[in-house]
């Protein structure tokens, strides 16, 4: 329930029953207001559902442990420090930050000292992703990762996510209303309508 026990209370999500395995990719789509972002925040432990549970390895998911990384629609908002390397190293050491930058396809030597405000939308998205990877999450949740990216940046980001799933066995949940290149983002597709899973969930290849 959104804003429970207030005059603005409304059911944001209802009857969401999903499971995800290591290395698996899930794409969640739906119209504006269908509950996609609420689901993303819930999966990351940033919202605790008033009914039901989100379990990670059998335990209720808790934000801030590093086990789940979430990337928001506006990547700039989650870049906390002024330069790329200092931002990625937030909460981790420099070596891990350097490795994380490499894993998202950015050169730490040239990109590390750059100011985050000077980066393109695609670069900001990758730096934000590197900032999540330094903590070795087992699940990555990406809310509208294609927002503001051109075709090239989208393809690059999709390739990075596919590689992370393969190499690190990291599960990914991509929440997006934009399904361009989305077959690269996950193996399964769920469509939300007014907070509920619409129809039968289907394999990506069958849609």
């Amino acid at each position: 329930m959104y804003a429970n026990r207030t005059p603005w209370a409304r059911r944001a999500l209802e009857g969401i029953d999903l499971d995800l395995r290591r290395g698996e990719g899930l794409v969640v789509t739906g119209d504006n207001g269908s509950g996609k972002s609420t689901l993303a925040w819930s999966l990351a432990g940033l919202l605790v559902p008033t009914e039901g549970e989100v379990l990670l390895d059998g335990q209720p998911v808790v934000a801030g442990t590093g086990a789940v990384g979430i990337s928001f629609q506006h990547a700039r908002l989650q870049l906390i420090r002024p330069t790329v390397l200092s931002d990625v190293a937030y909460g981790a050491d420099k070596d891990r930050a350097t490795a994380a930058l490499r894993s998202v396809g950015l050169d730490p030597v040239t990109m590390g000292p750059r100011r985050v405000d000077e980066l393109s939308g695609g670069e900001q998205r990758r730096v934000a992703l590197a900032g999540l990877l330094v903590r070795d999450p087992v699940l990555l949740v990406l809310d509208e990762p294609y927002a503001g990216l051109d075709d090239e940046a989208r393809a690059g980001l999709a390739a990075v996510l596919a590689r992370l799933r393969d190499e690190r066995e990291m599960a990914t949940v991509v929440v997006s209303h934009d399904l361009d290149n989305a077959d690269l983002l996950g193996d399964r597709l769920v469509t939300l309508e007014a907070g509920r899973v619409a129809g039968e969930p289907s394999a990506w290849s069958g849609t």
């Binding site: 005059p7 819930s42 934000a63 908002l77 399964r188």
Partner: protein, 285 residues
């Protein structure tokens, strides 16, 4: 997709739609409902937004000029009567953050330490309650002003405020005051408020999600607070620049819709009551 509920629990991540054990739990990260309109048909809802702005302005200024306990009582009684007249549900009251109680308690202790008349004797110990009295009084002034502002927000759609301001400030055009630009800027600020609140919510969430697991010192907590505040400011400035560029591209200052709301009996009554309350505050100070 493999239908869920078959062979669970085997996955890394699972969501379940129902769990009665957690039914009572409710967390909604930083939702701010003070400036959200609650639809209704009460006299306060029907009142012109300009009347509410004038009444709120007059009463707040009077309270700040004469912040006596009597003034606080008059303002508090008016807010309570208006709240009941607006027929607002009880669940509307904002849930205050836990740290606010701590801040107020710390302020009260500091005020008590500062002493001041009158003194109270506890055995051989003399305690001055003047500072604590002033702290409580000014805290109550704040509560009165905030409660009346919240009442305005709950009973007035944000979109009604700008046209009302345009009509109220209209006479200043004769003095060459740039009323349209002023009202346009205020309208934009009001329109952008929900956007900024949402961005502040994301900033907080992003920090919470990336926060290091190890305990932080007070200094680190302080640094973190400064970074959040400046992050919010930087985003607000960036957003303002984008909006300014969009306005320029569309040919200049946006026009505010003309005010069409009628000025009726309830408005006259509200202004008369406000004037009487201000007079009472001035006389009883």
């Amino acid at each position: 997709m493999t239908p869920n509920g078959q062979g669970r629990p085997t996955g890394l991540l699972e969501t379940t739609g129902e769990d009665p054990r957690r039914r009572a739990r409710n967390l909604h990260l930083g939702e701010i409902h003070v400036v959200r309109f609650v639809p209704g048909t009460s006299p306060l809802h029907r009142m012109w937004a300009g009347t509410k702005l004038v009444a709120l302005g007059l009463l707040s200024i009077a309270l700040l000029l004469w912040p006596s306990w009597k003034s606080i009582g008059i303002m508090g009684a008016l807010v309570l009567i208006a709240f009941l007249a607006a027929r607002l549900p009880r669940g509307i009251s904002p849930r205050l953050p836990w740290w606010l109680g701590g801040v107020l308690a710390a302020g009260a202790v500091l005020a008590l330490v500062s002493g001041g008349q009158p003194d109270v004797h506890l055995g051989s110990l003399r305690v001055g309650l003047g500072g604590l009295g002033n702290f409580t009084r000014f805290s109550m002034v704040g509560v009165d002003v905030l409660a009346s502002a919240a009442l305005l927000g709950w009973t007035t759609p944000l979109a009604d405020l700008s046209p009302a301001l345009g009509r109220l400030l209209g006479p200043l055009r004769h003095l060459r005051v740039p009323v349209d630009e002023l009202v346009g800027a205020i309208a934009l600020s009001i329109r952008c408020l929900p956007l900024l609140l949402e961005e502040a919510r994301v900033l907080r969430a992003a920090r919470r999600a990336r926060r290091p697991a190890n305990p932080r010192s007070f200094r680190e907590l302080g640094d973190e607070s400064v970074e959040v505040v400046f992050g919010a400011l930087a985003n607000a400035i960036r957003r303002a620049r984008e909006i300014a560029e969009a306005i320029e591209a569309r040919g200049g200052v946006p026009t505010v819709a003309p005010e069409t709301h009628p000025f009726v009996g309830i408005d006259v009554l509200a202004l008369v009551i406000s004037a009487m309350a201000v007079s009472a505050m001035a006389v009883l100070r």
